[in-house]
Amino acid sequence: MSEPLLDVRDLRVSFRTRNGKVAAVDGISFQVGVGEVVGLVGESGSGKSVSMLSVLRLIDNPNCVVEGEVLFKGRDLLTMSDAEMRKIRGDEIAMIFQDPMTALTPVYTAGWHISEQIRAHEKVSKQAAMDRAVQLLDSVGIPNAKERVNSYPHEFSGGMRQRVVIAMALSCNPSLLIADEPTTALDVTIQAQILELLQNLQSDFGSSIVIITHDMGVVSQVSDRVMVMYGGRLVESGPRRDVMRDPLHPYTWGLMGSIPPTDGTRTPRLAAIPGAPISPSDPDRDRCLFSPRCRFASDACRPTPLLAMHTPGHMDACILPLAERPERRREALTPVEVTL
């Protein structure tokens, strides 16, 4: 593999609280290659958003401590000055947020938002920036872009607003686009359109994309590689095809099992993952954090199992013998009787 675009090494994000330090991201390492689309999956609170926000240093909580290395094109983002960081934000790494309803400042037009970003990074006239805004809006599929450039956020529908946000994110041709649950707040038909749009743009602009989601469907649709996070750690990572067809980690089985199958016989009941996500303040961290909810847990789950490569590029952190996994997986998909 040639030099990766983004190389995250042992990233730790913790928050100082009254009850001591709480680790939201607990030592994750991953790489994003040029032009690659990576899906980062996990439940709420698994640290997926926090990890990507800390890559851009967008967490302004004074009690937050970020450790590790985030190498972007070989330069460490975490030790950069604020001014240097600002040059990268929006220009080389752009971000899209979950809720398009609140991501645009309500008092400015779509064109204003886009030209603000362009003019933050390039010396161009207002008129030239506006002309580019029109082109960008057109390229993200907003009809009648020439007029819509003067529309305010409240005059757009949710899907259209997300398109405006995407146009804005792409305005400086970023080499990396971080999309934090870009489709979660949208209804299903619009979700599909936005995903397709992201894919088209990826092939047109050649940007790498990290797409954060809790929706396995989204991941299976767009990403080249999938990373599964649990409790602030990576538990499985691999090429999409491998992870979707042949998931290794029991947590991934649980995630996949909770997607209703659209073919075959109808299952009477979806397999759910018992229990609740582990709290980042849980003091007992020297173990597989999923083990309290895993039916195959044993004493071997501590100390923390390390990520191990099984097939090229496909790794996971679980102690179960590889040969046993297909059978265990079938077992995992039969629902447990829940006694209340």
């Binding site: 752009a94 947020f97 991501a103 037009t109 970003q117």
Partner: protein, 322 residues
């Protein structure tokens, strides 16, 4: 935008009309009141009373009385308090207006400036000692009563330090703008400051809470992700959206102050403004002056609100289409 302005203007005129009817009814149709005797004044002769009854149409139906009253107030402008002594109302109000306007506009500029400065500085200084310090200063400003602060200021500037530091402060009272800008301003600087202290504190606190809310909004995070400077995030995004709340508050306060709520400042600093005029007329039960003052106050409150509505629409595109 023009249609919006027009609609608002029509609404404002209707409100003014409604207020004038209401005020008229309160003073002239309250059972047991004899407005003619009030207008004629104490110890008025029977002839004067008769003359008043005729000119105000007190023997005619109420709508006619209302129309006659408005004619005296706005068209002939010859409404006279205590007819037998003959002090006309309109000139009194006309004399008081520039005083109150000077006081309130000047104070408003000062309090808006410091309120915004303190609010933004406190927001920018969140997490450090700057924020609580500014907020405490704000609370102190809010809790100082104007009449007390005014008297202390007078004590210092007119007596204790008058021979040294404050020798430039003229005696209490008002000097018209035509007597020279400095003469006008120097008479008003202390009243301006005193009145502004209270409002600057309130505005700083309101602005801070609005802005801290805005700083947690997703659009602020988005703005940061765009790579613009922190200062621009603060002013162009957080402040700009919080300004809307400040402007609506300003409309209410400004209108009320122009309409006479600056009474305490006017009394303390010996300014014969509209508040003082209203107060004096209430003491004497000088009906025509009360009527004139209330109409005047209503006019300014409604005008201020109309202007605020326009500014509001300029600031917030979401309002324009309503």
């Amino acid at each position: 935008m023009l249609r919006f302005a027009l609609k608002r203007a029509v609404a404002a005129v209707l409100v003014l009309f409604a207020i004038s009817v209401l005020v008229f009814l309160i003073f002239f149709a309250t059972p047991g009141a004899d407005p003619a005797a009030r207008i004629a004044g104490r110890n008025a002769s029977q002839e004067t009373l008769q003359q008043v009854r005729e000119s105000f149409g007190f023997d005619k139906p109420l709508p006619v009385q209302y129309a006659l009253m408005m004619r005296h107030l706005f068209i002939d402008r010859d409404l006279t308090s205590f007819v037998n002594r003959g002090v006309e109302v309109i000139p009194q109000i006309k004399q008081a207006i520039p005083i109150t306007l000077s006081l309130v506009i000047g104070a408003a500029i000062i309090w808006m400036f410091f309120g915004i400065l303190m609010g933004v500085a406190a927001t920018a200084g969140r997490g450090s000692a700057v924020d609580p310090l500014i907020m405490i200063i704000g609370v102190i400003g809010v809790s100082l009563p104007v009449y007390w602060l005014g008297e202390v200021v007078n004590l210092m500037t007119q007596s204790r330090l008058h021979d040294s530091f404050f020798s430039w402060v003229p005696p209490l009272g008002y000097a018209p703008l035509s007597s020279g800008v400095w003469n006008w301003a120097s008479h008003l600087i202390m009243p301006w400051m005193t009145l502004a202290v209270l409002y600057a504190g309130i505005y700083a606190r309101v602005l801070r809470s609005e802005m801290v809310g805005a700083m947690n909004e997703e659009y602020v995070r988005m703005a940061r992700a765009k790579g613009i400077s922190e200062r621009r995030v603060l002013w162009r995004h957080a402040f700009r959206t919080s300004l809307i709340a400040i402007v609506s508050l300003f409309g209410l306060d400004f209108g009320a102050l122009i309409g006479g709520a600056a009474l305490l400042s006017e009394v303390v600093f010996g300014l014969q403004g509209v508040g003082k005029l209203t107060y004096d007329s209430l003491q004497n039960f000088d009906l025509p002056v009360i009527l004139g003052c209330v109409m005047y106050a209503a006019f300014f409150v409604v005008l201020a609100n109309f202007l605020v509505d326009l500014v509001y629409a300029l600031l917030d595109p979401r309002v324009r289409h309503v």
